[in-house]
Symmetry: C2
Subunit: 316 residues, 2 copies
Protein backbone atom coordinates (compact mmCIF):
# COMPACT_ATOMS: atom_id res chain seq x y z
CA UNK A 1 0.00 0.00 0.00
CA UNK A 2 2.89 2.26 0.73
CA UNK A 3 4.25 1.68 -2.74
CA UNK A 4 0.86 2.40 -4.21
CA UNK A 5 0.67 5.62 -2.28
CA UNK A 6 4.17 6.63 -3.25
CA UNK A 7 3.42 5.97 -6.85
CA UNK A 8 0.26 7.99 -6.83
CA UNK A 9 2.09 10.75 -5.02
CA UNK A 10 4.81 10.78 -7.63
CA UNK A 11 2.17 10.82 -10.32
CA UNK A 12 0.68 13.88 -8.75
CA UNK A 13 4.11 15.40 -8.40
CA UNK A 14 4.67 14.81 -12.08
CA UNK A 15 1.32 16.38 -12.90
CA UNK A 16 2.09 19.36 -10.73
CA UNK A 17 5.51 19.73 -12.27
CA UNK A 18 4.11 19.49 -15.74
CA UNK A 19 1.45 22.07 -15.05
CA UNK A 20 3.96 24.36 -13.38
CA UNK A 21 6.96 24.22 -15.65
CA UNK A 22 5.52 23.21 -18.97
CA UNK A 23 2.01 24.60 -18.95
CA UNK A 24 3.13 27.60 -16.91
CA UNK A 25 0.33 27.64 -14.39
CA UNK A 26 0.69 29.15 -10.95
CA UNK A 27 0.69 26.89 -7.94
CA UNK A 28 -2.68 28.28 -6.96
CA UNK A 29 -4.21 27.11 -10.21
CA UNK A 30 -2.56 23.74 -9.89
CA UNK A 31 -3.87 23.39 -6.36
CA UNK A 32 -7.40 23.93 -7.63
CA UNK A 33 -6.93 21.49 -10.50
CA UNK A 34 -5.54 18.76 -8.34
CA UNK A 35 -7.95 19.45 -5.49
CA UNK A 36 -5.33 20.15 -2.90
CA UNK A 37 -4.22 23.14 -0.89
CA UNK A 38 -1.75 25.52 -2.42
CA UNK A 39 0.82 24.42 0.14
CA UNK A 40 0.46 20.86 -1.08
CA UNK A 41 0.78 21.96 -4.66
CA UNK A 42 4.03 23.65 -3.72
CA UNK A 43 5.16 20.45 -2.02
CA UNK A 44 4.33 18.46 -5.12
CA UNK A 45 6.30 20.82 -7.30
CA UNK A 46 9.33 20.59 -5.05
CA UNK A 47 8.93 16.84 -4.85
CA UNK A 48 8.97 16.78 -8.62
CA UNK A 49 12.27 18.63 -8.48
CA UNK A 50 13.68 16.58 -5.62
CA UNK A 51 12.85 13.31 -7.33
CA UNK A 52 14.37 14.61 -10.51
CA UNK A 53 11.19 13.83 -12.37
CA UNK A 54 11.83 16.98 -14.30
CA UNK A 55 15.08 17.94 -15.92
CA UNK A 56 16.14 21.22 -17.43
CA UNK A 57 18.07 21.30 -20.63
CA UNK A 58 19.71 24.49 -21.67
CA UNK A 59 20.30 24.45 -25.39
CA UNK A 60 23.07 26.97 -25.53
CA UNK A 61 26.86 26.80 -25.59
CA UNK A 62 26.90 28.73 -22.33
CA UNK A 63 25.24 25.84 -20.57
CA UNK A 64 28.32 23.66 -20.91
CA UNK A 65 30.47 26.46 -19.56
CA UNK A 66 28.28 26.98 -16.53
CA UNK A 67 28.37 23.29 -15.88
CA UNK A 68 32.14 23.13 -16.13
CA UNK A 69 32.55 26.16 -13.90
CA UNK A 70 30.30 24.64 -11.28
CA UNK A 71 32.26 21.40 -11.36
CA UNK A 72 35.60 23.15 -11.07
CA UNK A 73 34.32 25.26 -8.23
CA UNK A 74 33.10 22.17 -6.43
CA UNK A 75 36.11 20.01 -7.11
CA UNK A 76 38.75 22.53 -6.10
CA UNK A 77 36.72 24.45 -3.56
CA UNK A 78 37.04 27.72 -5.42
CA UNK A 79 35.56 31.03 -4.38
CA UNK A 80 35.16 32.09 -7.99
CA UNK A 81 35.22 30.32 -11.31
CA UNK A 82 34.33 31.36 -14.82
CA UNK A 83 34.49 29.33 -17.98
CA UNK A 84 34.08 31.19 -21.26
CA UNK A 85 32.84 29.50 -24.41
CA UNK A 86 35.50 28.25 -26.75
CA UNK A 87 35.61 30.78 -29.54
CA UNK A 88 35.19 28.81 -32.75
CA UNK A 89 37.01 31.57 -34.65
CA UNK A 90 40.22 31.43 -32.65
CA UNK A 91 40.55 28.50 -30.30
CA UNK A 92 43.55 29.94 -28.53
CA UNK A 93 42.17 33.43 -28.04
CA UNK A 94 42.92 35.04 -24.74
CA UNK A 95 40.23 37.57 -25.63
CA UNK A 96 37.42 35.75 -23.91
CA UNK A 97 39.07 35.34 -20.57
CA UNK A 98 40.56 38.81 -20.75
CA UNK A 99 37.04 40.11 -21.11
CA UNK A 100 35.93 38.22 -18.04
CA UNK A 101 38.98 39.32 -16.09
CA UNK A 102 38.28 42.90 -17.05
CA UNK A 103 34.74 42.38 -15.85
CA UNK A 104 36.00 41.02 -12.58
CA UNK A 105 38.31 44.00 -12.16
CA UNK A 106 35.49 46.35 -13.10
CA UNK A 107 33.20 45.00 -10.48
CA UNK A 108 35.90 44.94 -7.85
CA UNK A 109 36.98 48.47 -8.61
CA UNK A 110 33.44 49.78 -8.75
CA UNK A 111 33.32 49.52 -4.98
CA UNK A 112 33.25 52.86 -3.19
CA UNK A 113 35.13 51.55 -0.21
CA UNK A 114 38.87 51.38 -0.88
CA UNK A 115 40.14 48.10 -2.26
CA UNK A 116 43.57 46.79 -3.03
CA UNK A 117 44.12 44.87 -6.24
CA UNK A 118 47.30 42.92 -6.83
CA UNK A 119 48.32 41.98 -10.34
CA UNK A 120 50.57 39.22 -11.54
CA UNK A 121 51.92 38.30 -14.93
CA UNK A 122 50.24 36.90 -18.00
CA UNK A 123 48.83 38.01 -21.29
CA UNK A 124 45.28 37.66 -20.03
CA UNK A 125 45.98 39.98 -17.13
CA UNK A 126 47.60 42.56 -19.38
CA UNK A 127 44.74 42.38 -21.86
CA UNK A 128 42.20 42.58 -19.07
CA UNK A 129 43.69 45.80 -17.77
CA UNK A 130 43.31 47.34 -21.21
CA UNK A 131 39.62 46.55 -21.17
CA UNK A 132 38.81 47.89 -17.75
CA UNK A 133 36.28 50.68 -18.04
CA UNK A 134 37.76 53.91 -16.67
CA UNK A 135 36.33 54.88 -13.33
CA UNK A 136 37.48 57.41 -10.76
CA UNK A 137 38.53 55.63 -7.58
CA UNK A 138 41.46 57.52 -6.12
CA UNK A 139 41.29 55.61 -2.85
CA UNK A 140 41.91 52.22 -4.38
CA UNK A 141 45.40 50.78 -4.56
CA UNK A 142 46.95 48.76 -7.31
CA UNK A 143 50.00 46.75 -6.47
CA UNK A 144 52.30 44.63 -8.56
CA UNK A 145 53.29 41.17 -7.46
CA UNK A 146 56.26 41.06 -9.83
CA UNK A 147 59.27 43.19 -10.57
CA UNK A 148 58.81 45.50 -13.52
CA UNK A 149 62.44 45.91 -14.39
CA UNK A 150 63.41 43.45 -17.07
CA UNK A 151 66.73 41.75 -17.49
CA UNK A 152 68.26 44.61 -19.46
CA UNK A 153 67.48 47.16 -16.76
CA UNK A 154 64.69 48.99 -18.58
CA UNK A 155 61.19 49.21 -17.21
CA UNK A 156 59.15 46.23 -18.21
CA UNK A 157 57.70 46.64 -21.65
CA UNK A 158 54.26 46.49 -20.26
CA UNK A 159 53.39 48.14 -17.00
CA UNK A 160 50.04 46.62 -16.00
CA UNK A 161 49.87 48.31 -12.66
CA UNK A 162 50.48 51.69 -14.17
CA UNK A 163 47.88 51.17 -16.86
CA UNK A 164 45.25 50.14 -14.40
CA UNK A 165 46.10 53.05 -12.14
CA UNK A 166 45.70 55.36 -15.13
CA UNK A 167 42.18 54.11 -15.65
CA UNK A 168 41.12 54.42 -12.05
CA UNK A 169 43.13 57.24 -10.62
CA UNK A 170 44.20 54.79 -7.93
CA UNK A 171 47.50 54.89 -6.13
CA UNK A 172 49.79 52.31 -7.58
CA UNK A 173 52.76 50.35 -6.36
CA UNK A 174 54.94 48.95 -9.07
CA UNK A 175 57.74 46.74 -7.87
CA UNK A 176 60.96 48.56 -8.74
CA UNK A 177 63.09 45.48 -8.99
CA UNK A 178 64.35 43.11 -11.63
CA UNK A 179 62.43 39.90 -11.96
CA UNK A 180 65.45 37.88 -10.81
CA UNK A 181 68.36 38.97 -8.71
CA UNK A 182 71.77 37.51 -9.32
CA UNK A 183 71.88 35.59 -6.06
CA UNK A 184 69.75 34.51 -3.15
CA UNK A 185 71.59 36.83 -0.80
CA UNK A 186 71.07 39.80 -3.01
CA UNK A 187 67.37 38.97 -3.31
CA UNK A 188 67.05 38.73 0.45
CA UNK A 189 68.76 42.05 0.85
CA UNK A 190 66.63 43.79 -1.75
CA UNK A 191 63.30 42.67 -0.49
CA UNK A 192 64.04 44.27 2.82
CA UNK A 193 64.67 47.75 1.54
CA UNK A 194 61.98 50.27 2.29
CA UNK A 195 60.14 50.73 -1.05
CA UNK A 196 60.00 47.00 -1.59
CA UNK A 197 58.85 46.26 1.94
CA UNK A 198 56.10 48.80 1.40
CA UNK A 199 54.94 47.07 -1.78
CA UNK A 200 54.97 43.76 0.04
CA UNK A 201 52.93 45.20 2.87
CA UNK A 202 50.30 46.56 0.50
CA UNK A 203 50.19 43.32 -1.45
CA UNK A 204 49.68 41.38 1.77
CA UNK A 205 46.48 43.32 2.34
CA UNK A 206 45.19 42.88 -1.18
CA UNK A 207 41.48 42.14 -1.59
CA UNK A 208 42.02 40.52 -4.94
CA UNK A 209 44.98 38.94 -6.64
CA UNK A 210 44.72 38.41 -10.35
CA UNK A 211 47.50 36.28 -11.72
CA UNK A 212 48.44 34.51 -14.90
CA UNK A 213 49.59 30.91 -14.85
CA UNK A 214 52.56 29.88 -16.95
CA UNK A 215 53.62 26.42 -17.95
CA UNK A 216 57.22 25.42 -17.48
CA UNK A 217 58.23 23.89 -20.77
CA UNK A 218 60.27 25.00 -23.79
CA UNK A 219 57.66 27.61 -24.51
CA UNK A 220 57.49 28.97 -20.97
CA UNK A 221 56.53 32.62 -21.09
CA UNK A 222 59.12 33.50 -18.45
CA UNK A 223 61.77 32.25 -20.84
CA UNK A 224 60.28 33.73 -24.00
CA UNK A 225 60.08 37.11 -22.30
CA UNK A 226 63.70 36.78 -21.39
CA UNK A 227 63.28 36.68 -17.64
CA UNK A 228 64.92 33.30 -17.24
CA UNK A 229 67.56 31.71 -19.42
CA UNK A 230 67.21 28.41 -21.18
CA UNK A 231 69.52 26.82 -18.64
CA UNK A 232 67.64 28.21 -15.68
CA UNK A 233 64.39 26.98 -17.19
CA UNK A 234 65.76 23.50 -17.77
CA UNK A 235 67.15 23.36 -14.28
CA UNK A 236 63.75 24.16 -12.84
CA UNK A 237 62.14 21.57 -15.07
CA UNK A 238 64.61 19.01 -13.77
CA UNK A 239 63.55 19.97 -10.28
CA UNK A 240 59.99 19.08 -11.26
CA UNK A 241 58.71 22.53 -12.16
CA UNK A 242 55.50 22.27 -14.12
CA UNK A 243 54.08 25.75 -13.81
CA UNK A 244 54.69 29.20 -12.42
CA UNK A 245 52.68 31.99 -10.91
CA UNK A 246 54.34 35.42 -10.80
CA UNK A 247 57.51 33.54 -11.61
CA UNK A 248 57.28 31.16 -8.65
CA UNK A 249 57.77 27.69 -10.03
CA UNK A 250 55.87 24.78 -8.57
CA UNK A 251 55.68 21.06 -9.19
CA UNK A 252 52.87 18.79 -10.34
CA UNK A 253 51.37 18.78 -6.86
CA UNK A 254 51.38 22.55 -6.66
CA UNK A 255 54.23 22.74 -4.16
CA UNK A 256 56.53 25.73 -4.55
CA UNK A 257 60.08 24.64 -5.32
CA UNK A 258 62.79 25.75 -2.95
CA UNK A 259 65.53 25.79 -5.50
CA UNK A 260 66.85 27.42 -8.64
CA UNK A 261 65.31 30.67 -9.74
CA UNK A 262 62.77 30.56 -6.91
CA UNK A 263 65.64 31.51 -4.61
CA UNK A 264 66.44 34.63 -6.56
CA UNK A 265 62.90 35.73 -7.39
CA UNK A 266 61.79 39.14 -6.25
CA UNK A 267 58.12 38.47 -6.89
CA UNK A 268 55.78 38.25 -3.97
CA UNK A 269 55.15 34.54 -3.43
CA UNK A 270 51.69 33.06 -3.52
CA UNK A 271 49.98 32.30 -0.23
CA UNK A 272 49.77 28.56 0.35
CA UNK A 273 46.98 27.85 0.54
CA UNK A 274 45.45 30.98 -0.93
CA UNK A 275 43.41 32.88 1.62
CA UNK A 276 43.08 36.11 -0.29
CA UNK A 277 40.85 35.80 -3.33
CA UNK A 278 43.46 34.73 -5.85
CA UNK A 279 42.19 34.29 -9.37
CA UNK A 280 44.27 32.46 -11.92
CA UNK A 281 43.63 33.32 -15.56
CA UNK A 282 44.91 30.98 -18.21
CA UNK A 283 43.89 29.00 -21.26
CA UNK A 284 45.43 26.46 -23.55
CA UNK A 285 46.19 22.77 -23.65
CA UNK A 286 49.83 23.44 -22.81
CA UNK A 287 48.84 25.05 -19.54
CA UNK A 288 46.51 22.32 -18.32
CA UNK A 289 49.06 20.57 -16.09
CA UNK A 290 50.22 23.89 -14.67
CA UNK A 291 46.68 25.03 -13.93
CA UNK A 292 45.66 21.71 -12.43
CA UNK A 293 48.73 21.72 -10.19
CA UNK A 294 48.03 25.26 -9.03
CA UNK A 295 44.47 24.26 -8.19
CA UNK A 296 45.53 21.11 -6.39
CA UNK A 297 48.20 22.91 -4.43
CA UNK A 298 45.82 25.67 -3.40
CA UNK A 299 48.03 28.31 -4.98
CA UNK A 300 44.87 29.87 -6.37
CA UNK A 301 41.28 29.76 -5.15
CA UNK A 302 39.68 31.12 -8.28
CA UNK A 303 39.98 30.41 -11.98
CA UNK A 304 39.05 32.04 -15.24
CA UNK A 305 39.57 29.84 -18.25
CA UNK A 306 37.91 28.61 -21.39
CA UNK A 307 35.76 25.62 -22.14
CA UNK A 308 38.41 23.38 -23.67
CA UNK A 309 40.88 24.04 -20.87
CA UNK A 310 38.27 23.54 -18.19
CA UNK A 311 37.25 20.23 -19.69
CA UNK A 312 40.87 19.10 -19.92
CA UNK A 313 41.51 19.98 -16.28
CA UNK A 314 38.47 18.04 -15.14
CA UNK A 315 39.37 15.03 -17.25
CA UNK A 316 42.81 14.59 -15.76
Amino acid sequence: MAAENDKSRLDDAARAGWLYFIAGHTQDEIAKMLQVSRASAQRLVSLCLAERLITFRLEHPIAACMELAARLKERFDLVHCEVVPADPASPQATAGIAERCANLLDSTLRSETPVIVALGTGRAVRAAVERVTPIDRPNHQIVSLVGNISADGSASFYDTVGRLADRTGARHYPMPLPFLMSSEDERNKMVRIEPIAKVKAVAARADLRLVGIGQMDQKAQVHIDGFVTRDELFEMMRQGAIGEITGWAYDAKGRLLKAGTNKRLTSIPPEVPAKTTTIGAAVGAAKVPAIAAALNGGLINGLITDEATARAILER
Copy 2:
Protein backbone atom coordinates in the same frame (compact mmCIF):
# COMPACT_ATOMS: atom_id res chain seq x y z
CA MET B 1 26.90 45.60 -33.61
CA ALA B 2 23.28 44.71 -33.10
CA ALA B 3 24.02 41.07 -33.74
CA GLU B 4 26.92 41.23 -31.33
CA ASN B 5 24.67 42.73 -28.71
CA ASP B 6 21.94 40.21 -29.28
CA LYS B 7 24.40 37.41 -28.95
CA SER B 8 25.84 38.68 -25.74
CA ARG B 9 22.34 39.27 -24.46
CA LEU B 10 21.34 35.73 -25.24
CA ASP B 11 24.50 34.50 -23.60
CA ASP B 12 23.53 36.36 -20.49
CA ALA B 13 20.02 35.02 -20.76
CA ALA B 14 21.44 31.52 -20.95
CA ARG B 15 23.64 32.19 -17.95
CA ALA B 16 20.73 33.58 -16.00
CA GLY B 17 18.56 30.64 -16.98
CA TRP B 18 21.23 28.19 -16.00
CA LEU B 19 21.78 29.82 -12.66
CA TYR B 20 18.07 30.04 -12.02
CA PHE B 21 16.79 26.67 -13.12
CA ILE B 22 19.80 24.43 -12.86
CA ALA B 23 21.86 25.92 -10.07
CA GLY B 24 18.72 27.05 -8.25
CA HIS B 25 19.82 30.55 -7.39
CA THR B 26 17.38 33.36 -6.75
CA GLN B 27 17.14 36.18 -9.21
CA ASP B 28 18.68 38.48 -6.64
CA GLU B 29 21.80 36.35 -6.48
CA ILE B 30 21.92 36.12 -10.24
CA ALA B 31 21.61 39.87 -10.51
CA LYS B 32 24.64 40.30 -8.27
CA MET B 33 26.63 37.68 -10.16
CA LEU B 34 25.92 39.17 -13.54
CA GLN B 35 26.25 42.72 -12.29
CA VAL B 36 22.78 43.84 -13.30
CA SER B 37 19.69 44.95 -11.48
CA ARG B 38 17.32 42.31 -10.21
CA ALA B 39 14.74 43.51 -12.71
CA SER B 40 17.18 42.80 -15.50
CA ALA B 41 17.94 39.40 -14.11
CA GLN B 42 14.25 38.66 -14.19
CA ARG B 43 14.09 39.84 -17.78
CA LEU B 44 17.02 37.63 -18.69
CA VAL B 45 15.34 34.62 -17.15
CA SER B 46 12.13 35.27 -19.04
CA LEU B 47 14.11 35.92 -22.20
CA CYS B 48 15.71 32.55 -21.69
CA LEU B 49 12.23 31.06 -21.57
CA ALA B 50 10.88 33.11 -24.45
CA GLU B 51 13.79 32.21 -26.68
CA ARG B 52 13.37 28.59 -25.74
CA LEU B 53 16.99 28.42 -24.71
CA ILE B 54 15.85 26.19 -21.90
CA THR B 55 13.55 23.23 -22.21
CA PHE B 56 11.88 21.17 -19.55
CA ARG B 57 11.75 17.45 -19.81
CA LEU B 58 9.52 15.53 -17.51
CA GLU B 59 10.77 11.97 -17.24
CA HIS B 60 7.56 10.34 -16.13
CA PRO B 61 4.74 8.49 -17.87
CA ILE B 62 2.37 11.16 -16.66
CA ALA B 63 4.13 13.72 -18.82
CA ALA B 64 2.91 12.10 -22.01
CA CYS B 65 -0.61 12.01 -20.62
CA MET B 66 -0.58 15.67 -19.70
CA GLU B 67 0.71 16.48 -23.14
CA LEU B 68 -2.00 14.43 -24.83
CA ALA B 69 -4.69 15.93 -22.63
CA ALA B 70 -3.53 19.42 -23.44
CA ARG B 71 -3.57 18.67 -27.16
CA LEU B 72 -7.03 17.15 -27.04
CA LYS B 73 -8.30 20.08 -25.03
CA GLU B 74 -6.84 22.48 -27.53
CA ARG B 75 -7.89 20.62 -30.64
CA PHE B 76 -11.49 19.99 -29.67
CA ASP B 77 -11.98 23.03 -27.48
CA LEU B 78 -12.78 20.99 -24.39
CA VAL B 79 -13.59 22.34 -20.97
CA HIS B 80 -12.08 19.30 -19.32
CA CYS B 81 -9.78 16.54 -20.42
CA GLU B 82 -7.93 13.83 -18.58
CA VAL B 83 -5.68 11.16 -20.00
CA VAL B 84 -4.63 8.37 -17.66
CA PRO B 85 -1.45 6.37 -18.18
CA ALA B 86 -1.86 3.13 -20.07
CA ASP B 87 -1.75 0.43 -17.44
CA PRO B 88 0.93 -2.01 -18.56
CA ALA B 89 -0.79 -4.78 -16.59
CA SER B 90 -4.15 -4.59 -18.35
CA PRO B 91 -4.19 -2.46 -21.47
CA GLN B 92 -7.94 -2.46 -21.72
CA ALA B 93 -8.65 -1.69 -18.09
CA THR B 94 -11.47 0.70 -17.45
CA ALA B 95 -10.12 1.02 -13.92
CA GLY B 96 -7.96 4.02 -14.62
CA ILE B 97 -10.62 6.15 -16.18
CA ALA B 98 -13.20 4.99 -13.66
CA GLU B 99 -10.89 6.26 -10.97
CA ARG B 100 -10.66 9.63 -12.64
CA CYS B 101 -14.40 9.78 -13.24
CA ALA B 102 -14.97 8.98 -9.60
CA ASN B 103 -12.59 11.77 -8.75
CA LEU B 104 -14.49 14.13 -10.97
CA LEU B 105 -17.75 13.13 -9.35
CA ASP B 106 -16.19 13.49 -5.92
CA SER B 107 -15.06 17.00 -6.54
CA THR B 108 -18.36 17.97 -8.13
CA LEU B 109 -20.37 16.49 -5.31
CA ARG B 110 -18.15 17.97 -2.65
CA SER B 111 -19.73 21.34 -3.38
CA GLU B 112 -21.99 22.65 -0.61
CA THR B 113 -24.25 24.44 -3.05
CA PRO B 114 -26.71 22.06 -4.68
CA VAL B 115 -25.58 20.52 -7.93
CA ILE B 116 -27.30 18.29 -10.45
CA VAL B 117 -25.38 15.41 -11.92
CA ALA B 118 -26.70 13.51 -14.91
CA LEU B 119 -25.42 10.02 -15.67
CA GLY B 120 -25.38 8.13 -18.91
CA THR B 121 -24.41 4.57 -19.80
CA GLY B 122 -21.08 2.85 -19.88
CA ARG B 123 -18.94 0.59 -17.79
CA ALA B 124 -16.65 3.42 -16.81
CA VAL B 125 -19.57 5.42 -15.46
CA ARG B 126 -20.87 2.47 -13.50
CA ALA B 127 -17.47 1.68 -12.09
CA ALA B 128 -16.92 5.34 -11.25
CA VAL B 129 -20.06 5.48 -9.18
CA GLU B 130 -18.82 2.55 -7.13
CA ARG B 131 -15.67 4.43 -6.30
CA VAL B 132 -17.24 7.68 -5.26
CA THR B 133 -16.39 8.42 -1.65
CA PRO B 134 -19.59 8.63 0.40
CA ILE B 135 -20.51 12.14 1.40
CA ASP B 136 -23.67 13.61 2.77
CA ARG B 137 -25.20 16.01 0.28
CA PRO B 138 -28.99 15.72 0.48
CA ASN B 139 -29.51 18.82 -1.62
CA HIS B 140 -27.79 17.48 -4.67
CA GLN B 141 -29.73 15.77 -7.41
CA ILE B 142 -28.74 12.76 -9.47
CA VAL B 143 -30.59 12.20 -12.68
CA SER B 144 -30.47 9.43 -15.25
CA LEU B 145 -30.20 10.20 -18.93
CA VAL B 146 -31.32 6.71 -19.94
CA GLY B 147 -34.25 4.44 -19.18
CA ASN B 148 -33.55 1.91 -16.48
CA ILE B 149 -36.12 -0.65 -17.52
CA SER B 150 -34.55 -3.22 -19.75
CA ALA B 151 -36.16 -5.06 -22.63
CA ASP B 152 -37.69 -7.72 -20.43
CA GLY B 153 -39.46 -5.22 -18.21
CA SER B 154 -37.27 -5.63 -15.14
CA ALA B 155 -35.33 -2.78 -13.65
CA SER B 156 -31.98 -2.43 -15.32
CA PHE B 157 -29.42 -4.72 -13.79
CA TYR B 158 -27.36 -1.84 -12.68
CA ASP B 159 -28.90 1.27 -11.32
CA THR B 160 -26.12 3.88 -11.42
CA VAL B 161 -28.31 6.75 -10.33
CA GLY B 162 -29.58 4.84 -7.33
CA ARG B 163 -26.09 3.79 -6.29
CA LEU B 164 -24.75 7.29 -6.48
CA ALA B 165 -27.75 8.61 -4.56
CA ASP B 166 -27.03 6.01 -1.87
CA ARG B 167 -23.57 7.35 -1.43
CA THR B 168 -24.56 10.97 -1.24
CA GLY B 169 -28.05 11.00 0.20
CA ALA B 170 -29.02 13.06 -2.84
CA ARG B 171 -32.44 13.02 -4.40
CA HIS B 172 -32.38 10.87 -7.48
CA TYR B 173 -34.36 10.66 -10.64
CA PRO B 174 -34.16 7.35 -12.42
CA MET B 175 -35.89 7.24 -15.75
CA PRO B 176 -38.76 4.76 -15.37
CA LEU B 177 -38.92 3.78 -19.00
CA PRO B 178 -37.62 1.06 -21.24
CA PHE B 179 -34.58 1.97 -23.26
CA LEU B 180 -36.51 1.69 -26.53
CA MET B 181 -40.25 2.04 -27.10
CA SER B 182 -41.94 -0.03 -29.73
CA SER B 183 -42.69 2.92 -31.98
CA GLU B 184 -41.93 6.58 -32.48
CA ASP B 185 -45.48 7.56 -31.53
CA GLU B 186 -45.35 5.64 -28.31
CA ARG B 187 -42.01 7.21 -27.46
CA ASN B 188 -43.39 10.68 -28.11
CA LYS B 189 -46.33 9.91 -25.92
CA MET B 190 -44.32 8.54 -23.06
CA VAL B 191 -41.80 11.35 -22.85
CA ARG B 192 -44.63 13.74 -22.23
CA ILE B 193 -46.05 12.02 -19.18
CA GLU B 194 -45.44 13.79 -15.91
CA PRO B 195 -42.70 11.69 -14.23
CA ILE B 196 -40.67 11.61 -17.41
CA ALA B 197 -41.10 15.29 -18.12
CA LYS B 198 -39.87 15.95 -14.60
CA VAL B 199 -36.74 13.88 -15.18
CA LYS B 200 -36.14 15.72 -18.44
CA ALA B 201 -36.53 19.04 -16.70
CA VAL B 202 -34.01 18.15 -14.03
CA ALA B 203 -31.60 16.77 -16.59
CA ALA B 204 -31.84 19.97 -18.58
CA ARG B 205 -30.52 21.88 -15.59
CA ALA B 206 -27.67 19.46 -14.90
CA ASP B 207 -24.33 20.95 -13.93
CA LEU B 208 -22.44 17.91 -15.12
CA ARG B 209 -23.23 15.13 -17.51
CA LEU B 210 -21.06 12.06 -17.35
CA VAL B 211 -21.63 9.70 -20.22
CA GLY B 212 -20.08 6.63 -21.72
CA ILE B 213 -19.40 6.40 -25.43
CA GLY B 214 -20.24 3.24 -27.29
CA GLN B 215 -19.05 2.14 -30.69
CA MET B 216 -21.60 0.89 -33.19
CA ASP B 217 -20.17 -2.34 -34.49
CA GLN B 218 -20.80 -6.01 -33.91
CA LYS B 219 -19.62 -5.61 -30.36
CA ALA B 220 -21.75 -2.56 -29.59
CA GLN B 221 -22.56 -2.52 -25.91
CA VAL B 222 -26.18 -1.54 -26.61
CA HIS B 223 -26.55 -4.79 -28.51
CA ILE B 224 -24.59 -6.97 -26.07
CA ASP B 225 -26.69 -5.66 -23.22
CA GLY B 226 -29.77 -6.58 -25.19
CA PHE B 227 -31.16 -3.12 -25.66
CA VAL B 228 -31.11 -3.27 -29.42
CA THR B 229 -31.42 -6.29 -31.63
CA ARG B 230 -28.89 -7.38 -34.16
CA ASP B 231 -31.13 -6.14 -36.96
CA GLU B 232 -31.69 -2.78 -35.34
CA LEU B 233 -27.94 -2.43 -34.87
CA PHE B 234 -27.18 -3.31 -38.47
CA GLU B 235 -29.83 -0.93 -39.69
CA MET B 236 -28.24 1.89 -37.74
CA MET B 237 -24.83 0.95 -39.07
CA ARG B 238 -26.21 1.10 -42.59
CA GLN B 239 -27.43 4.57 -41.80
CA GLY B 240 -23.85 5.48 -40.95
CA ALA B 241 -23.95 5.06 -37.18
CA ILE B 242 -20.47 4.92 -35.78
CA GLY B 243 -21.06 5.59 -32.10
CA GLU B 244 -23.68 6.21 -29.48
CA ILE B 245 -24.08 8.26 -26.35
CA THR B 246 -26.91 7.27 -24.00
CA GLY B 247 -28.14 5.20 -26.92
CA TRP B 248 -28.30 8.07 -29.37
CA ALA B 249 -26.50 6.93 -32.48
CA TYR B 250 -24.44 9.37 -34.51
CA ASP B 251 -22.37 9.21 -37.65
CA ALA B 252 -18.69 9.75 -38.32
CA LYS B 253 -19.15 13.52 -38.22
CA GLY B 254 -20.91 13.37 -34.89
CA ARG B 255 -24.36 14.15 -36.30
CA LEU B 256 -27.25 12.46 -34.52
CA LEU B 257 -29.13 10.19 -36.90
CA LYS B 258 -32.80 10.85 -37.42
CA ALA B 259 -33.74 7.29 -38.14
CA GLY B 260 -34.03 3.78 -36.77
CA THR B 261 -33.74 3.30 -33.05
CA ASN B 262 -33.06 6.98 -32.50
CA LYS B 263 -36.75 7.53 -33.23
CA ARG B 264 -37.83 5.21 -30.47
CA LEU B 265 -35.22 6.09 -27.86
CA THR B 266 -36.42 7.34 -24.52
CA SER B 267 -33.00 8.60 -23.46
CA ILE B 268 -32.48 12.29 -23.12
CA PRO B 269 -30.60 13.36 -26.25
CA PRO B 270 -27.24 15.10 -26.09
CA GLU B 271 -27.16 18.84 -26.53
CA VAL B 272 -25.60 19.77 -29.88
CA PRO B 273 -23.26 21.34 -29.37
CA ALA B 274 -22.78 20.55 -25.71
CA LYS B 275 -23.23 23.60 -23.51
CA THR B 276 -23.49 21.83 -20.21
CA THR B 277 -20.23 20.29 -19.10
CA THR B 278 -20.58 16.91 -20.79
CA ILE B 279 -17.77 14.50 -20.10
CA GLY B 280 -17.36 11.42 -22.24
CA ALA B 281 -15.56 8.50 -20.66
CA ALA B 282 -14.27 5.75 -22.90
CA VAL B 283 -11.17 3.76 -23.77
CA GLY B 284 -10.19 1.23 -26.36
CA ALA B 285 -9.07 1.09 -29.94
CA ALA B 286 -12.54 0.01 -31.03
CA LYS B 287 -14.04 3.19 -29.65
CA VAL B 288 -11.63 5.59 -31.27
CA PRO B 289 -13.85 6.46 -34.27
CA ALA B 290 -16.86 6.86 -32.00
CA ILE B 291 -14.99 9.12 -29.59
CA ALA B 292 -13.46 11.18 -32.36
CA ALA B 293 -16.86 11.64 -33.97
CA ALA B 294 -18.43 12.71 -30.69
CA LEU B 295 -15.65 15.24 -30.21
CA ASN B 296 -15.92 16.57 -33.74
CA GLY B 297 -19.68 16.83 -33.56
CA GLY B 298 -19.55 18.64 -30.22
CA LEU B 299 -21.66 15.98 -28.55
CA ILE B 300 -19.27 16.17 -25.63
CA ASN B 301 -17.07 18.98 -24.41
CA GLY B 302 -14.96 16.92 -22.05
CA LEU B 303 -13.15 13.61 -22.25
CA ILE B 304 -11.63 11.11 -19.91
CA THR B 305 -9.65 8.41 -21.65
CA ASP B 306 -6.35 6.59 -21.56
CA GLU B 307 -3.05 7.23 -23.21
CA ALA B 308 -3.38 4.80 -26.11
CA THR B 309 -6.85 5.97 -26.99
CA ALA B 310 -5.89 9.62 -26.74
CA ARG B 311 -2.96 9.06 -29.04
CA ALA B 312 -5.12 7.22 -31.55
CA ILE B 313 -7.70 10.01 -31.57
CA LEU B 314 -5.06 12.63 -32.20
CA GLU B 315 -3.45 10.62 -34.96
CA ARG B 316 -6.58 10.27 -37.02
